[in-house]
């Protein structure tokens, strides 16, 4: 797996730029990945990111959009404005958890 430097950190990422080890995540990584997605992080983004990290720690999987909106209270429309194009996969990358996937 390729290793990337983010500030002073060295982290392993997969072919699509997702963190290989979710425990490597830091807020600086979130800022850096968000910038690459063209997103300037606001408090509202952080509410979602923190929820996604907590969900992953408790359940061992990345949340679906419905799980994010029910769990964090951020409405679906707003979630699409915060993370345009594909909220579940974008917030997963920024929060350092695995990309949402099917079984194959």
């Amino acid at each position: 797996m390729p290793v990337r430097a983010i500030g002073a950190l060295q982290v392993e990422v997969d072919a699509e730029g997702y963190l290989v080890n979710p425990q490597d995540w830091t807020p600086e990584i979130a800022e850096a990945f968000a910038k690459e997605e063209g997103i300037e992080l606001t408090d509202r983004h952080w509410e979602v990111i923190n929820f996604v990290r907590k969900f992953y720690e408790e359940r061992g999987q990345s949340p679906t959009i419905r799980q994010i909106t029910t769990g964090s209270g951020v409405p679906t429309k707003e979630l699409f404005k915060l993370f345009p194009g594909g909220p579940a996969k974008k917030v997963a990358r920024i929060a350092g958890v695995p990309k949402p996937a099917g079984c194959i």
Partner: protein, 413 residues
């Protein structure tokens, strides 16, 4: 006094668990009671074949009662509420009586909820131009609609994950492609696969090996699509980010949710799945309660093969538990699924929590080997033969010569 093992749900997981435990427990000391709301046991993997006339209704239904081993009591009723603190369950039949238990298995499954998407069921197009195929009624009505199909835009949309049998939507479009070619309608039909996931295949090795399959068949792919509503007047689906997909025929995989009894009992998550230890299948928060099959929240596929491996891993573990021993972390998330690809061929995938589907060979004494992540005629016959094994082996509490845990033998890692 006799102990009571109460099993909620008499589908794939509940029936297997009841019949296997009826062989293991001393029925002079144990009562095994199964509660289910329906008289019919469905062979759900067969629903997929009904729209294309390969199976008929009679091929996928049998009376539920006929499957239970002697000694298993069957109660026909809806489940009202589970009260784990009082170790009892209220059922709706007989004026709402209680059944007390010493140990409880929740196997209430998951079901499609088209009413959760505005305009889907209430827009006037339901079972006219919009169909599901995860219910027997939907599959039968869709078969009728396809017989009079003259071409147009066929859109398959998955509302949200997780869904039961997550490969069935892909199988549906592969079979639709084949069926329409056989009937001379393929050139008049545009097939579109619309998914909330970032791709049709999302696991690295499967994407590598199978990624071309949609393109080869001329099937259009729309990704990251999260449906908000159906506009029945204009016959389009609309996503939360305002993307529209017009359809002449919409085949929907509605939102899946666990049993409403789980919600009423306050023991489930936002989709009515019960938080479950992924390796022992004990309910995380509840004493003497276990969860099998689609009713759990464990991160593996919701599928009959998973229910089968869960039961295989659970039965010896449950026998330890009732003796006061610690449960062993024996369930590994193992799933094994045939994927129909049309033209009498199929794929096989085999994976668990840790290992993604890999190419190679799957050994099965007497029948195999089957090819993994590779199209073959033998895989197709494996799938067709499986219906017989399901009715006569698995549901009768007999075992298949496949270990519960996934094996790396034959796989190309």
């Amino acid at each position: 006094m006799a102990k009571t093992l109460l099993i909620l749900g008499g589908g794939t997981a509940g029936t297997m668990a009841a019949n296997r435990l009826a062989q293991e427990l001393d029925l002079n000391e144990w009562r095994i009671i199964v509660v289910d709301q329906g008289r019919v046991h469905y062979y759900q993997p067969g629903f997929l074949f009904i729209p294309f006339g390969i199976y008929k209704k009679q091929d996928v239904i049998k009376p539920r009662r006929s499957f239970f081993a002697p000694g298993v009591e069957f109660v026909l009723s809806e489940i009202d509420v589970i009260e784990p603190d009082k170790k009892r369950v209220r059922i709706k039949a007989d004026g709402g009586r209680y059944i007390s238990y010493d140990f409880l298995i929740i196997a209430t499954g998951t079901s499609p909820r088209p009413e959760e998407t505005p305009g889907m069921k209430d827009g006037g197009l339901w079972y006219k131009d919009i169909f599901d195929f995860y219910t027997l009624e939907g599959a039968v009505r869709l078969a009728r609609r396809l017989r009079t199909w003259e071409g147009g835009r066929l859109v398959l949309n998955i509302v949200d994950m997780p869904i039961k049998c997550p490969v069935a939507p892909l199988e549906f479009i592969f079979l639709a492609d084949w069926y329409l070619r056989e009937n001379g309608l393929r050139q008049k039909t545009e097939i579109v696969y619309v998914t909330p996931l970032p791709g049709a295949f999302t696991k690295p090795r499967a994407s590598q090996v199978l990624g071309h399959m949609l393109e080869d068949r001329g099937i259009h792919l729309v990704t990251d699509y999260y449906i908000e509503r159906v506009d029945p007047e204009r016959k389009v689906i609309v996503s939360y980010d305002e993307r529209e997909e017009p359809f002449d025929l919409l085949v929907t995989i509605p939102l899946n949710k666990g049993s409403d009894a789980i919600a009423r009992s306050g023991i489930g998550d936002e989709l009515n799945y019960v938080p479950t230890d992924p390796h022992t299948l004990k309910a995380k928060e509840l004493e003497d309660v276990f969860v099998l099959g689609d009713a759990t929240d464990v991160p593996t596929s919701k599928a009959g093969s998973v229910a089968h491996f869960m039961v295989d891993a659970f039965v010896p573990n449950f026998l330890r538990y009732i003796e006061g021993m610690e449960m062993l972390p024996t369930f590994d998330g193992h799933a094994n699924c045939y994927i129909e690809s049309g033209f009498g061929k199929g794929f096989l995938i085999d994976f668990n929590y840790e290992v993604e589907p890999l190419p190679g060979k799957f050994p099965l004494p007497g029948l195999g080997p089957f090819s993994l992540l590779q199209e073959s005629v033998v895989n197709h016959w494996g799938k067709m033969l499986f219906r017989t094994l399901y009715w006569h082996v698995l549901m009768k509490g007999r075992r298949l010569p496949i270990p519960a845990q996934m094996m790396m033998a034959g796989k190309w890692a």
